[in-house]
Structure formats: C-alpha cells, structure tokens
C-alpha cells in the first residue's frame, strides 16, 4: 500500500485541494538501505563471523588436528630461534656472526679491554674481534712456507697440562727450555690450560692458527723471560706484533702504555719496546716453532737459533727501583726524626 514517495500528498489549505508535490528522497536512508542489503551480509553476517572465528582457530573443526598444528607451530618457532646465525658452525664451538655483530663485538671488547685489561675475557674477545682474515691468511702463508710450520698445521698439536706433562718438566736439565718454562710458570703462577677456545673466527684452519698463537703466548713469555706484569705483557705483545703482525698485539702495544705510570712508560719507550721491535723484526717467525719438541733443547741454543737476545731483566729493574725508593724513604724518616729531636 505504498504511495510513491514523489507523489505524497502534502496538506495545504483545506482538503479540497490536495496537491501532489515531489519530495526529495532522503539519500542517507537510501544509501544505508542499499549497502545493508548488499555488502552488510558479507561483512558482519553470520557466515562471515563464523569464517573469522574459524580463521582464528576458535571454531572447532573436526577435520583439523589441533595437536599437530600446535606442535608444528612450536617447532617452527624453535627453528626460528635456532636459525639465527648467518651460517652453520664450521667447527666445534664456532659461533658465526653477522657483520654488524662483529662490529659490536669489536666495539664492546675494545672499550672493555681499554678500561679493564686485567680481565682476560676482554683481551680474548678483542683478539678474536681483530683477527681479520687478512692477518690470519698471512700467518697461514708464513706457516706453510716453513717445514715445521707445515708440520704444525698437519698435526694440529694442542697445548694442555697433560700434553706437556708439566710435572716431568721439573726433572729436566736446568739449562733446557722445558725446565725454564716450568720455572717461569711456577714463578708467575700460571698453567698452560688458561687459554680460552676460539669462537668467532669463521674458517676452521684460521681458528686453529689463532688458537695456536694464543696457546704459545706463554712460551714467548718464558723464552724472553718476561713476567706477566703489565710492562712484561706489553713487551711480549710488541714482540708478537713485530714478528707476526697480530693486529691486537699492535693495538695493545701502542695504546696500552698510555695507562701506565711515567716511570713504567720511560722503561718501555727507552728499553723494552725498541728491543721488542728490533728482535721481532729480525728473529725467525715464532709461530713456526714446535714448542713441544723444544722442551728438551738447551735454552741458549734455542735463543741463538731463533735470533733472540735477552733484554735487561725487568724483574731485577723493578726490584732495584723499589729498593732505591725504600732507601730514600728510610733516609727521610731518619731526617724527620732527627729534626724533631732538635
């Protein structure tokens, strides 16, 4: 019983003249009605809501195995957590790093090593952060160009306390390198096991070369008879830098003296650093020495073969200076007491 909208009667004066005016249709009502009729069903209709629920997994569907899906989901997430590394490990203990992570390692370990070089972990990490393939390749070439170096790369000896049989070294002849090494270890209270494994170097052979370099550090100390005080460490680092071009040793030898007392710096710059650089540049590459076989050798002969002459004894120098300062203090204490008596 609808009258067309356009023909709705409009009441004017009196019923006698019923005029039919055209009325503008209400557009918003029309539009809403049209949309509701057509699109509304698709957006919020019952089937649409059920489909959304099914998507979210809230609608039980007996054709789907929820247990399986859950397990697969968990497995997928765990795989995501496992596959965070840029490549698979190349050797036991290898942690591959992205370039940004390597830079972060360099920055963090560099800062920590500068402020806390006594913490071995920081130095170890800085060493690995700066063990660039260029340097390790050149070390490899040095080792490959020497028969003993080649043998070391083939046999890959590992330096541990059992391997060296530290206790037997005590019974070696007094002038053998093994006995000197044993004496040095006992005096400095270290053991060959204190070397951390390599984790951040990518190539396995490079990793072995770096590990060998790290493990032989104590042998270099014993060879030139340097104590493990900071001056001795800087000297040995300078020797390694000059001899083998180790980047971290170079960094350490250049930057570390800035944190020392003036008298220590003077000793370093005047005596030990020049000696280290001279010796390092002229002696044979120390990485090619098969230390395990040199233990029975006469230490002076070994030094002559390698081309090393010992520097002035650091321990003696420090002890002498301490003694002189002690005497000075005693003298002034005496003088103060005498002036009180006056």
């Amino acid at each position: 019983m609808f009258k067309p909208i356009s023909m709705r009667p409009v009441a004017t004066q009196g019923l006698s003249s019923v005029k039919l005016h055209r009325v503008q249709p209400n557009r918003s009502i029309l539009l809403t009605a049209a949309l509701t009729a057509t699109v509304g069903e698709l957006l919020v209709g019952k089937t649409a809501r059920m489909a959304d629920a099914m998507d979210r997994g809230e609608l039980h569907n007996k054709n789907v195995d929820y247990e399986t899906e859950r397990e697969e989901n968990i497995q997928h997430r765990i795989n995501n957590l496992k596959n965070t590394r840029p490549s698979t490990p190349n050797y036991e203990g290898h942690i591959p790093l992205y370039t940004t992570e390597k830079l972060l390692l360099f920055a963090v370990s560099g800062l920590r090593s500068f402020f806390h070089p006594e913490n071995g972990l920081n130095i170890v990490q800085l060493g690995e952060a700066t063990a660039w393939p260029l340097f390790l390749d050149s070390m490899k070439r040095t080792m490959l160009s020497d028969p003993t170096g080649r043998r070391i790369l083939r046999e890959k000896p590992n330096v541990t306390t059992q391997q060296l049989e530290m206790d037997h070294l005590a019974e070696f002849p007094k002038d053998s390198f093994g006995y000197q090494f044993y004496k040095w270890c006992k005096r400095e209270n270290v053991s060959p096991d204190t070397r951390a494994p390599v984790s951040y170097v990518d190539d396995p052979l490079h990793a072995y070369i770096f590990k060998r370099y790290r493990q032989c550090h104590d042998f270099y100390h014993a060879l030139v008879d340097m104590p493990i005080v900071i001056e001795g460490e800087i000297t040995v680092k300078a020797l390694e830098a000059a001899n083998m071009g180790v980047p971290m040793a170079t960094l350490g030898a250049i930057l570390a003296p800035f944190r020392l007392k003036p008298i220590q710096q003077k000793r370093l710059y005047d005596i030990y650093l020049p000696w280290a650089v001279r010796t390092g540049l002229t002696c044979k590459p120390l990485i090619n020495v098969y230390w395990e076989e040199m233990l029975t050798k006469n230490v002076d002969e070994l030094r002559k073969e390698l081309g090393i002459t010992l520097p002035p004894d650091l321990r003696t120098m420090r002890a002498e200076r301490k003694e002189r300062i002690h005497e000075l203090n005693q003298k002034y204490k005496q003088m103060k007491m005498e002036s009180k008596d006056l």
């Binding site: 195995d65 247990e67 399986t68 397990e71 968990i74 997430r77 765990i78 995501n80 957590l81 496992k82 965070t84 942690i95 790093l97 992570e101 972060l104 390692l105 963090v108 370990s109 972990l121 990490q125 984790s199």
Partner: protein
Amino acid sequence: MYKPVLSRQSARLLSSKGAAGASTTHFGSKIVPTEQKSKLVGHVFSSVASKYDVMNDVMSLGIHRLWKDHFIAKLDPGMRPNSTEPMNFIDVAGGSGDIAFGILDYAKAKFGDTQSTMDVVDINPDMLREGEKRAMDQGRYYNDPRVRYMVQNGEELDKIESNSKDVYTVSFGIRNFTNIPRGLEAAHRVLKPGGIFYCLEFSKIQNPLMDVAYQQWAKALPVFGSIIANDYDSYQYLVESIERFPEQEKFKSMIQDAGFQSVGYESLSFGICAIHWGVKV
C-alpha cells in the same frame, strides 16, 4: 595384512624411544638421552650461577623483579597473628633465594611472622651456594634454624616428608625439569591437604604484537649473551626451553592431572609469564 602405522601423536611424545632403545627427551631443542638432561641443565646453571641475577635482569629487562613482587604479594604468605602454628614453605629450584627470602620478608613485614620455616631446595649446588652466600651478605636467613638449604631433585624431593608443607613455590624453575608431571606429583606429595602449589613460569604470549617483539628479542639474546657474558649456549638453551614450555591452559590441565583442585592461572605482562596455582585436597 594390517600393518600398524605409528600415529603422529605417539611419534611426537616428549619422551620417545630412540633407535638404540634408549629413552630420549628434549634439552631445549636438542634431543638427548633422558639421564643426561638433568646433567646438561646442571651445566647451564653452574655456568650462569654467579651471574644469575644479571642474566635475569638482561632477559627480562629488570621486569622479573616486578613479577616476583606481584607473585609474593598475591600469595600473601605468613602465619596470621591469631594463629598458633607456623607455616612451612618450600621453594623449589630457587637456589638464588630471591623468592624464598622475599616470602619470609613479606611474612615478617605484614604479619610479624618470625616463626615460619623455609626449605630452599635446588638441584644445582652452585646455585644453592649463591643463595646461601646472598643470605650471608645480607646477614639474614644464614645459619638460621628456620631456613634449610638442601640439594634436591625437584622430581623426587626425597629428603622432604610427605604432607609436610603449606606452600610449595617454584619460580622460573619448572621448565627445566626433565619430567614435569613427575615434578607436579612430587609437589602434590609434599604438600599438606589444603596446601597450595604456586608456580611462576614463562608462558605463551597472548598479544601478537608483543609476540613479534619477543621473538626478535629472543633471536638477538644469545649473541648478546655471547658478546657480553661469553656464554652463547646458556642463553640459547634458555630461549628454547621457554618456547618448549606448555601454554597456560595446557599447564593448567597438567596440574589438574597431578591431583590439584581449584587450579587457576594469571597471565602477567601480556602472557610473557604466568602464575599458576592449585590446591591439594
């Protein structure tokens, strides 16, 4: 001829028989022989024991302290002033002692309770030593007859008598159990009737945005752990074990299976962790 086919369900049991007939289980995402898991977990915790608090702070950005405070406040532990019998608490896998000492401090502050006893129990002696050392440093709960420190396996608790504890708490420890249902049964055994099982553990994140953020964080964490703490494997194990732990509803049904009633849970921080509780009847 009918050939029985291994259903997908049984093929994916958490503890399965390997080729050699040895029983295997999950260690993070690796499959290891069952006997080895507790030893491997032990290694993880031995290596992080001394820096456990730092590691917790790093992993949760310090929020774990808020969670633990809420955990204790919600429990409202302590012998009430009008009561005559002191309460017996047991904190399992709580070597570092933060929940154990927190409970005793809360009971003292709110109810003036200085008599309730606490058993601090951990499978790893290094973690327990850290807890005792902390007690020694703060001067409380060390050489105290109220507090016992024992090395115990949470799945057996062989030195704890049955029906002897009012409250059993475990905070961020139950995901490391080799066999979680056995751990729940041991909890059920040592609790008195009316005793409360109260557990704080990582759980499934409900909010999808937080989930994405957490996944990125979990991917970056082992590398940070490796660069800063020189420990890649421990952090890797931790993020994987968090992923493996069942979600809120599933863990609730596991607690019910162990015999607890009125089991409930509360998700904290969008579901990053959840408090589950149950009452022994």
